[in-house]
Each structure stands twice: as structure tokens, then as C-alpha cells.
């Protein structure tokens, strides 16, 4: 048993207050591939044995390259795809136990800001209808109550005065205002947890800051648990205290944001950091030191460490053979990389 598993086993349900809001345990999201429409032809292992906790009132970030499985992980947490294996526990209960009614109730407690904000708002609906709909779905029959909540939510995301916007259509709003409405919609049912999948990556720099600040404010004011998904580490520190780095379907490093930025351990985390430019003229004078190549196929991922074909530190005879477990290199800092096998055992 790894150290982390020992910690998990020691957990007792009596400590409900310390119980994480969400626990993901050895989660596998595998998409089946079919040949001729019915013959099994393997799996896309988009999420492969992922374990983490989301504490109450905290914001965490999942960071990784395009196609590494971030959105699949989120869809699984929302109960939109069924796990191949593993569990998703919300307030201690498996979200798949309890049938449709329980699932619906669970989804009412989760807000979701989906990837691709430009396609997010239906163009033919007024802002008022867009915000009212989730309330109708939640069974709130009182029209006045609904209006009141719509107005309050617009005020919360600072699309003000609300009366100016209620009857507008999305295209009449600026990009920043549209994204504020997307967030208002995700929050209008007072969720306990918010999942934001690349909420700012398609936005202009200034609008991006506007939205990051808004999310941060809302998170703190509501004491909301948030999972923030992004490929861009530079935005994370303004928002979340913990980072989970994902590569090819696996979490490969888990640590505080500070640790990831100042003391990153996994060679892939080094690469992610090296890839980011702070705006400096000297950037143009040198090549960036980043691994060549692309992430591997998730159908036949490389054996051993999935990063080994791109890793300059790979240990021959080990990294391409054995899957590295999570080594604990410091309190609350785990890394799945063979480079730390001695440090961690010591």
C-alpha cells in the first residue's frame, strides 16, 4: 500500500466536517471502440486510475495538455459518463448508487461552466430565459421568486443594472458579459460545487482577468468548492490553492499551487512551466526547452510511465517497464515519477 492509500484507509466517516465534499477513487473512464459498429476493438483510456479529494470550500485546478482527459474527468464527475471502474463519492455517497432520482438531485448541487464559452449560450433565448430555465427545471413554480433570483444572480456577476439585460440576446453582450451570464447560470441553483472547464481560455486577455477575478470572488464569498480545468498554469495561481497535473489520463503530480510553481517535481510539470512565457523581450532570443513530440495514444498508451517516450530523465529498464506509483515527496505533495523512489522511501 502506498502512503496515500494508508491515509485513505485511516479515514473514518465520523469526521463528517473534515470529509471532503467530493472524493474520486481509482476512477477509470474508458470509451469502448467498436469495429463494424459492434465488435470490441479496444478502449480509449481517457481517465485511468485517478484518485483525489476536493475539500469543502476550496478551489483546485486540474492542469494538462489537450486530450489528456480533463473534460472526460469532469463529465464523469457530473455523472454524464459511466465509469468503467472506480468511484465518485459526493458527501460520502457514490453518485451512481441510488438511481435516477438521486442522480438528478446530485446534479442540482453541481454547477457547470462548459468548455467553449462562445457556444455556451443559446443564441435565440433572452438572458432572462437562459437564467430562468435551470430554476424551472429545479421545480421552482413561483414566477416572482424566479425573477428575483435571476436579478440577484445578475447582480452577483455584476451584469448591471439587470433590467438593461433581461430582454437582451447573447450576441448583444460583450464577450465578458456573456461569460458572466454563463457563470450566473451555473450558480443560480446555489450549487455546492462548481466545475469550470477552461472558462477563460478562449477569451481576450482583459476579459480573462475580469472572469478570473469574478470566479475568485464568488468562490470566496460563497465558500464554494470549485474544480478549475485548464491547460494554462499561468492563470491557476490567481485562483486555486491546489493543483493536480494530468498527463495521458493519469494524475502525475498533486501539490499546492505554490509547490508546483516553486518546487515542481515531475518532468512533465517542468515542461508545462517551461512552456509559459511571461512577457519579456528576451523570450524571442532563445528556443524554449520543452519536450518534443505529442501526448501518446490513449488506446495503446506506452507501458511504464506514460511520459517516458518524451522524458529526458527516463531511467532505462525502469521507466518504460513499471508504472510509477505516487511517491510522497513532502506533506501534501505527491508525484508519480521514478526519480523520487529513494527520496520518498527515506
Amino acid at each position: 500500500m502506498s502512503e496515500q492509500q494508508v491515509q485513505e484507509a485511516a479515514f473514518s466517516p465520523a469526521e463528517a466536517q473534515d470529509q471532503p465534499l467530493l472524493s474520486v477513487r481509482h476512477l477509470k473512464i474508458w470509451y469502448e471502440l467498436k469495429r463494424f459498429g459492434f465488435l470490441h476493438a479496444g478502449y480509449v483510456k481517457a481517465v485511468d486510475d485517478v484518485t483525489f479529494d476536493l475539500p469543502r470550500g476550496e478551489a483546485i485546478a486540474v492542469v494538462g495538455e489537450s486530450g489528456c482527459g480533463k473534460s472526460s474527468l469532469m463529465k464523469a464527475i457530473l455523472g454524464l459518463v459511466h465509469p468503467h471502474d472506480g468511484q465518485i463519492l459526493f458527501e460520502g455517497k457514490d453518485i451512481w448508487e441510488g438511481g435516477n432520482a438521486a442522480m438528478r438531485e446530485y446534479r442540482m448541487k453541481v454547477g457547470y461552466v462548459q468548455q467553449d464559452p462562445y457556444g455556451a449560450l443559446p443564441p435565440f433565448m433572452t438572458i432572462r430565459r437562459i437564467l430562468e430555465e435551470p430554476l424551472i427545471l429545479a421545480g421552482i413554480k413561483d414566477k416572482e421568486e424566479r425573477m428575483e433570483r435571476v436579478i440577484r444572480s445578475l447582480e452577483e456577476v455584476k451584469v448591471t443594472p439587470p433590467s438593461d439585460f433581461l430582454n437582451k440576446y447573447p450576441h448583444m453582450l460583450s464577450g465578458g458579459q456573456q461569460q458572466r451570464v454563463v457563470i450566473a447560470r451555473a450558480l443560480i441553483r446555489n450549487p455546492k460545487m462548481l466545475i469550470a472547464d477552461e472558462p477563460v481560455s478562449m477569451l481576450d486577455a482583459s476579459v480573462r482577468v475580469e472572469i478570473l477575478k469574478l470566479l475568485d470572488e464568488v468562490q470566496q464569498e460563497r465558500h464554494l468548492s470549485v474544480i478549475y480545468i485548464t491547460h494554462d498554469l499561468s492563470t491557476v495561481r490567481y485562483f486555486s490553492k491546489r493543483i493536480f497535473v494530468m498527463y495521458a489520463g493519469k494524475l502525475i503530480e498533486k501539490a499546492s499551487t505554490y509547490e508546483i510553481l516553486h518546487n515542481p517535481k515531475h518532468p512533465y510539470s517542468w515542461a508545462l512551466l517551461n512552456a509559459i512565457s511571461d512577457p519579456l523581450a528576451e523570450n524571442a532570443t532563445k528556443l524554449r526547452d520543452i519536450p518534443p513530440g505529442e501526448p501518446p495514444s490513449l488506446i495503446t498508451p506506452p507501458p511504464g510511465c506514460r511520459f517516458h517516450p518524451r522524458c529526458q530523465k527516463a531511467i532505462q529498464g525502469l521507466c518504460e517497464v513499471e508504472v510509477p506509483p505516487h511517491f510522497s515527496v513532502a506533506p501534501n505533495h505527491d508525484v508519480a515519477c521514478w526519480l523520487y523512489r529513494e527520496e520518498a522511501e527515506a
Partner: protein, 342 residues
């Protein structure tokens, strides 16, 4: 005054470039009297928020125009040759791909889905080097794929079989294969993740260093723009607000708009608080008179109701009343503006 160099020695000289679009209810002033020049083997980045006219400027440089053009005037010298006076056929034969090529915004999603990659990359070459043998042409295709880092086996594939990053490399290969003096890149990496972005910028740097190509890089991403920038041109609402060498710009922009753009850039380290620019850029249908940034500018004062001139400070240009006292001079003629090399 920095002596106005001979336009023939520059990669690009742009004088008083105007591109307006016609709509039923008015005229969109997308590129409004822009003048600048670019030395050979340098890269200028054009930055600004969405809707400021960056893409329109790229279109004006490469003459890839929509149908509703209302006005398209000015002078554009590309690799020493004035091109605005040319008719379309001459331009197609002598300028497009040969002297200047473009990687349009979202080009990687616009590759022909039913053509093999090699055929798409061959096209500009066969079009412009008439008489080139198929054998030589294929050799060039292999060489350019190798240069931009697309594995050789991919040339027989179709676009859908490639990742976004690989497709973007293919589009860059297309722009490169005819060895143009200038390549215009419109948001080349905005849809890609950070590692792929960094890989693409490594490719662009190698093109610049090894082939001597000049670049016009259009982007709203100020931080990554520094990966290629020698000069920085800040656009706002169709106007050129600042033109500075990258070293000076990133050390300290002059224009209040440029300062605010920089303050909105997330940084990995450091204590600076992120700031955003309240409001949004004005409509270019009836842009405000006076300084177009005035209604969002925290430093705006009485004078800003009038349009500011462009001031020169050393080798930098800035269009803002705040520099009235400090400036060396007002630069007003397009030739003189283009003559100030950042």
C-alpha cells in the same frame, strides 16, 4: 528625426493604410490610417483586444478582402515593391505567396478535408514556380515538412488524422514553401494548449533565424507574442496607438491602453495584481471622435476629446496627449511615420 530609410531596403513599408467595410447602416473603420515599417528579418507583433482591427490589417496587407470593402487605400511596399497600385492579377502572380504569404486566423481548421496534406502544400508551389518538376517539388515538400517538424509519413495523410498542433505546422509549411520575404500569422496558436504553442513558436523562431523571413504576427495574446517580437504595434479601434521595439515595450509600454493590456497578462511569478480594462472597445461603425480610448482611459483629460497626434520619443511612436511635453516631435506624414524604425 531618424532618417527615413529607402523603402526598398525594408521587408515591409506601410503608409497611410485604410480599410473600411460597408454595411447597410454605416461604414466600419477597421484599419484607419496606419503607417509603419518593418526591417528585414524582423518580426512585428500586432496586439490589441478582440475587434480592434488586427485581422483586418492582415487582410489589408495580403489583399485577402471581403466583398463589402468601402475603402482600401494607402501604400504597401513588400520586399521593396509597391503593391497597392497593382491590379489583382499582377498581385496574384507577383506578390501573393511569392513575396508575402498568410496563415489566416483558424487556418488549421480550414484545410481541405478531402485532400492529402502533400497536395495542399504543393499547391502554392506549383502555382508560382511554373515549370518546377514534380520531383523537385516533392523534394521541397519533404524538406519543408521536416523543417516545421511534421513527421515525413504524415504527407500522405488527411487533415482529420492530425492533431491541432500538427495541422498548424502544416499550414505554416504551406506559407513557407515558396520562401516569401514576409509571412503574416493571424492568431497562430490561440486555439492550442501551452506546450503546443511553445513548440510552434520554436518552429517560427527557427524559420526566422535560418531562412531570414520577416513576420507580421497578429495576436491578442501579449505574453506569447514576446516569443517572436522584435517590434510591437498596439492597435486600438483601428488606430495605431503605439509602435516600439520589443525591448522597450516589454520593459515599459507608453500608451495607457498598452499599459493596461500588460497589466492584464497573468504571470507565473511575481506579486503584481492582475487588472482588467473595464468596458469594451468602441464600435467601429461610428467610432468616437477624439482619442478612441478616452472613455476607458483612467488618465483621460480635457484634451482627449480631440484626436491626439502621433508623437515620437526616440525611436518610439505613441498616439496620446500625455506625451505632448516629453515628446521629441509630432510625426504626421505617413512617410515619416513609416520612417521611424522601432
Amino acid at each position: 528625426m531618424v532618417p527615413s530609410d529607402d523603402p526598398r531596403d525594408k521587408a515591409l513599408v506601410v503608409e497611410d493604410l485604410v480599410l473600411y467595410f460597408q454595411l447597410t447602416h454605416g461604414i466600419v473603420q477597421a484599419v484607419d490610417h496606419v503607417s509603419f515599417s518593418l526591417d528585414k528579418n524582423r518580426a512585428v507583433v500586432v496586439i490589441g483586444e478582440s475587434g480592434c482591427g488586427k485581422t483586418s490589417m492582415g487582410k489589408a496587407l495580403t489583399r485577402l478582402l471581403p466583398r463589402n470593402v468601402n475603402r482600401y487605400t494607402g501604400k504597401v511596399f513588400i520586399d521593396g515593391v509597391e503593391t497597392m497600385g497593382m491590379d489583382d492579377e499582377t498581385y496574384r502572380e507577383q506578390v501573393r505567396w511569392v513575396k508575402i504569404s498568410q496563415v489566416p486566423q483558424a487556418a488549421m481548421n480550414a484545410l481541405n478535408p478531402v485532400l492529402k496534406l502533400k497536395d495542399q502544400v504543393l499547391e502554392p508551389l506549383l502555382l508560382h514556380e511554373k515549370g518546377i518538376s514534380m520531383e523537385d517539388a516533392m523534394e521541397r515538400v519533404h524538406a519543408v515538412f521536416d523543417f516545421v517538424g511534421v513527421p515525413d509519413g504524415f504527407i500522405e495523410r488527411y487533415p482529420f488524422e492530425l492533431s491541432g498542433g500538427m495541422r498548424q505546422r502544416v499550414v505554416i509549411a504551406m506559407a513557407l514553401i515558396t520562401n516569401p520575404a514576409v509571412i503574416v500569422l493571424d492568431e497562430p496558436t490561440s486555439a492550442l494548449d501551452v506546450l503546443t504553442q511553445a513548440n510552434i513558436y520554436n518552429v517560427l523562431k527557427r524559420i526566422k533565424w535560418e531562412k531570414g523571413t520577416s513576420f507580421v504576427l497578429i495576436t491578442h495574446d501579449v505574453a506569447t507574442s514576446s516569443e517572436l517580437a522584435d517590434d510591437v504595434l498596439v492597435m486600438y479601434a483601428g488606430h495605431m496607438m503605439e509602435h516600439s521595439a520589443a525591448e522597450e515595450f516589454f520593459a515599459g509600454p507608453l500608451h495607457p491602453y498598452a499599459k493596461m493590456l500588460m497589466a492584464a497578462v497573468p504571470k507565473l511569478y511575481g506579486e503584481d495584481e492582475l487588472q482588467f480594462i473595464p468596458g469594451k472597445p468602441p464600435s467601429l461603425l461610428n467610432p468616437p471622435t477624439g482619442c478612441r480610448f478616452a472613455d476607458r482611459c483612467p488618465l483621460a483629460f480635457e484634451k482627449c476629446k480631440l484626436e491626439p497626434p502621433t508623437y515620437r520619443l526616440g525611436n518610439r511612436l505613441v498616439k496620446c496627449w500625455l506625451y505632448e511635453k516629453e515628446a521629441d516631435e509630432i510625426v504626421s506624414s505617413p512617410e515619416a511615420l513609416a520612417g521611424v524604425s522601432a
